[in-house]
């Protein structure tokens, strides 16, 4: 683990919903740190709080207790406008589907967050083109989403989520709608992006996809019940070529 400040720091975070029968705890308290270059997967049964945790980490939902620090900024200290800016500039999101705007080409989709941030059109497109090249989609840059396969759309969504100076990607079941070979391609891509210095937090129900992560957290009833980690250093292994 690096000594640099974590990209994401979640400290004793919980989420309680009000309901007719009184308060219902959907998450926590949980604590979690994610460092730069790390890919962390969250697994757990339906209703275990994994999507809530992801939404809180991605500043899409607020916790009812605890502290969330993203790229050094305590989310509780930010105004609504500052949160919106953080979501636009610092974070990237990939969901199961409907990630891309249908009226824009792949290139325009990836360039959009940069343009919204005030980049000039040529600069945004250059950067978007480079981001598409990193996910090996440069040859389809001018296609509209409806002319791309599900796997190609997810690759464009990942390119967009990492474009510019984004600190962290949040992905909720990004492989959920894909067949297993295409899903594996998407995971390979996420892995490559993290190995190149990106950071990602991923919710998945698929253990074979979670296994691409450096750490896999298992959430049950809103709490982390176990965590599996894989040291980067190769372990000695008796088998294999």
């Amino acid at each position: 683990m690096s000594v640099a400040a974590p990209v994401l720091e979640i400290r004793d975070v919980g989420r309680v919903h009000a309901s007719r029968n009184g308060p219902v705890r959907v998450l926590g308290p949980v604590s979690l740190e994610v460092g730069r270059g790390e890919l962390v997967a969250i697994m757990g049964p339906s209703g275990s709080g994994k999507s809530t945790l992801l939404a809180i980490a991605g500043a899409l939902d607020r916790p009812t207790e605890g502290r969330v620090v993203v790229a050094g900024r305590d989310l509780a200290d930010l105004s609504a406008a500052q949160l919106a800016e953080l979501r636009r500039r610092t974070l990237g999101y990939v969901f199961q589907d409907l990630n891309l705007l249908p009226g824009l080409t792949a290139l325009e989709n990836v360039a959009l967050p940069l343009e919204l941030d005030g980049a000039s059109l040529p600069a945004a497109r250059d950067e978007a083109r480079a981001a598409l090249a990193r996910v090996k989609m440069q040859h389809l840059a001018d296609r509209f989403p409806e002319d791309l396969s599900g796997g190609e759309q997810q690759r464009v969504a990942i390119a967009r989520a990492f474009v510019g100076k984004r600190s962290m990607l949040l992905a909720d079941e990004p492989t959920g709608a894909l067949d297993s070979v295409t899903g594996e391609l998407v995971m390979r891509l996420l892995r490559d992006q993290c190995d190149a210095g990106g950071t990602a937090l991923l919710v998945t129900h698929d253990a074979t996809h979670a296994a691409w992560a450096d750490r896999v957290l298992h959430l049950v009833d809103g709490r982390i019940v176990d965590a599996a980690s894989s040291p980067r250093a190769n372990r000695s292994n008796a088998v294999g070529p």
Binding site: R188, R191, A207, A211, W212, A228, N237, A238, P241
Partner: protein, 173 residues
Amino acid sequence: MTVRHSLLALLDREPAHGYGLKTAFEERTSNAWPLNVGQVYTTLARLERDGLVTPRTAEEGPRQTWSITDAGRAQLAGWYASPVVDDPPQRDELAIKVLLAIAAEGEDVDGILAAQRATTMERLQELTRHKVRADPDRDLAWLLILDAWILTAEAQIRWLDLCAARLAARGER
């Protein structure tokens, strides 16, 4: 593991000596299941007894070589033609451990499931790292073995999750 049929399959390509069979087997199966050379020789002796292989007089050097007989070829063809059936299934230590822990009523079954899940997940991560490094053109055998082990580990994780869900549902009734 069926060393017998593996040796017949290797000898069907070309005659070989015992140590050559060991290395050829390990090469084709990516060292996933290392063979003891003693096991190769005892298996060859049994195959010879059954008339499926025959020793050849050494022409070049002191090592005994073996070749497959027509009966050996017929046996090999039968092996390839018969699907592998796991019936009755092999004893499953994890399933037995979990069932006995549930029956013991006092054991921390959730703890056993969680610890096993984390360990299997780490194994799955390790196998996935091997897969990332494997070259699909050069290491096809190794990749296919990794796929099999990965899917087995995944099945175990899904089974552990099902156990936890069924136990939780029983607790709520």
